[in-house]
């Protein structure tokens, strides 16, 4: 099987949510001597981005996106071992630290954004849900990400986004990291009011704005 045929099968695996096929053709790509970084990017991440774009346009369901991401992850696990073995690295667009603010346990939106960021070449550290302000600050200090993503699904918890930004400022870290806000109640006005850098009104715009922030750096 040549490179084009293997990449076609990987695309089919991601779009049909077939984890086993993603693993199988990732192995086949390694055996055929194809660059694992290229296989990961062109064979797996690219079709997932397409699923993500369909989701963004309202043409795919969340479950399809998550299942596609799981197929990609299954193949990526095989490829990452090979990438590591060769001492190579997938070129990272940037590092993102993401989490849902304290008092808020909603994770679906955050998980979708994390998935789409990964598919677009970002390295993502997911802190989970109900993350305290102190933990966000500590994680920024430790990981030194390019971008911090703060998710809040409720009007009652979105004020925590402001608290995290204030705490980053107090800790002297605000200028080291771009802050992007997400969640149903978030607006552009809110971004300005609390001195964040951008917002993701949906998963696609979160990715577009994250890429913009990286370019600005």
């Amino acid at each position: 099987m040549n490179k084009a045929a293997i990449f076609r099968e990987l695309e089919r695996a991601v779009k049909n949510f077939d984890e086993k096929a993603a693993e199988k053709y990732s192995r086949m790509a390694i055996e055929a001597g194809i660059d694992p970084v290229e296989t990961l990017e062109e064979g797996l991440a690219k079709p997932l981005r397409e699923v993500g774009e369909r989701f963004g346009r309202g043409e795919a369901f969340i479950t399809e996106l998550i299942a596609g991401a799981q197929a990609m992850e299954a193949g990526a696990e095989v490829l990452n071992e090979e990438i590591k073995r060769h001492g190579k690295k997938r070129k990272s667009v940037g590092e993102v630290l993401i989490g849902t603010v304290e008092g808020d346990i909603h994770s679906i939106g955050k998980n979708i954004v994390a998935t789409m960021l990964r598919a677009n070449g970002f390295e993502v550290y997911d802190l989970g849900v109900d993350v305290s302000t102190e933990d966000f600050v500590e994680a920024v200090r430790r990981h030194k990400p390019d971008i911090l993503g703060l998710s809040a699904l409720m009007t009652t918890t979105m004020d925590k986004q402001r608290k995290v930004i204030d705490a980053l400022r107090k800790a002297g870290l605000r200028d080291d990291v771009k802050v992007i806000l997400g969640g149903a109640p978030v607006t552009r006005e809110w971004v300005e009011e609390i001195d964040a850098d951008a917002c993701g009104l949906d998963a696609s715009s979160a990715v577009v704005n994250a890429l913009k922030l990286i370019k600005e750096e």
Binding site: I62, A67, T155
Partner: protein, 299 residues
């Protein structure tokens, strides 16, 4: 027709029976009253709402419950502690039906549980809901309020198969049982249309493997279905809300968070029809059903 041989545990909440072999006990229908963006609510923070319309909707749900034999419950949500207190205060006076209460933040939950205790509603309240990785403090707060029945949500993204939901629920049952929760109701987590298949098959597996009452919130799939409006140009969600609940009942649901209470007129007939059909099947198999079963009420 869906049937099951595993022995089923039936949980009783204020004389409403939840669970059993499909067709044995009518499906419990839970309408949501003060959900996010409800047209009833005029001030989400303060919990102000159209009281006359709310009362009308509660009364209509109770009427439909009497007509069909499907027990009714109310799911009461609120986005602030003040709002949830106002809502519970109102509904507790307007209906004798059991209430599902909870909250998305610790302060809302605390306010709701405080109201339950103050108003002596413990016996007719179900906590909605406990999710995987819920804190010990949350479970203890429910038990301290005197509530012994809670919906456990099989919320998981790591395994999208029905077995993934079942495993998540098994773990949650064990954890909450160890803390003293005695009556779990298992919600197999509907998120969108494709997840209906996972959740409905998970309900069957839950009943077959665990034998506890199972259900879900099938309306979530309709709320998230953008193509319904965009592609099919269908303005009314009513037929699909009725059919998705009937589909869930046919898959063995013991309880359904059927969606906004405004849909009661569509959902009760559809679900009672499936219950009557399954009920007759049980009668043929030798089961004696109560005269309050939809089979004997909706003809």
């Amino acid at each position: 027709m869906y049937s099951i041989e595993t022995e089923q545990r039936v949980i009783d909440v204020d004389d409403v029976k939840i669970g059993g072999i499909p067709g044995e006990n009518p499906t419990v229908l839970i309408g949501s009253l003060f959900y996010r963006k409800s047209p009833l609510v005029t001030d989400e923070e303060e919990g102000k709402f159209d009281r006359a319309r709310a009362e009308e909707l509660i009364t209509r749900q109770d009427e439909l419950s009497d007509i069909t034999g499907n027990p009714a419950m109310l799911d009461v949500e609120g986005s602030t502690p003040t709002a949830v207190e106002n809502y519970i205060d109102f509904v507790a006076e307007r209906t004798d039906s059991p209430l599902l209460i909870g909250g998305s933040t610790p302060d809302i939950r605390a306010a709701a549980l405080r109201m339950v205790k103050e108003r002596g509603l413990e016996d007719r309240v179900i906590y909605n809901s406990l999710m995987p990785e819920c804190s010990k403090a949350e479970v203890e707060a429910i038990l301290d309020a005197g509530i012994d029945t809670a919906v456990l949500l099989g919320y998981t993204f790591s395994d999208l198969r029905p077995q993934g939901r079942v495993e998540a629920l098994k773990k949650l049952i064990e954890e909450t049982e160890n803390l003293g929760l005695s009556n779990p109701l298992l919600d197999t987590f509907v998120m969108d249309v494709p997840s209906l298949g996972i959740a409905f098959n998970a309900m069957k597996e839950v009943k077959a493997k665990i034998g506890l009452p199972a259900g879900c919130g099938p309306h979530n799939a309709i709320g998230m279905w953008r193509g319904l409006r965009k592609k099919m140009k269908i303005k009314s969600k009513r037929p699909v809300v009725a059919s998705v609940n009937a589909f869930a009942t046919a898959s063995g649901a013991d309880f359904l968070l059927y969606g906004p209470i405004e849909a009661a007129d569509d959902v009760f007939p559809a679900v009672s029809m499936v219950d009557a059909a399954y009920g007759f099947n049980q009668v043929q198999l030798g089961k004696r059903l109560t005269r309050e079963h939809p089979l004997f009420k909706i003809a």
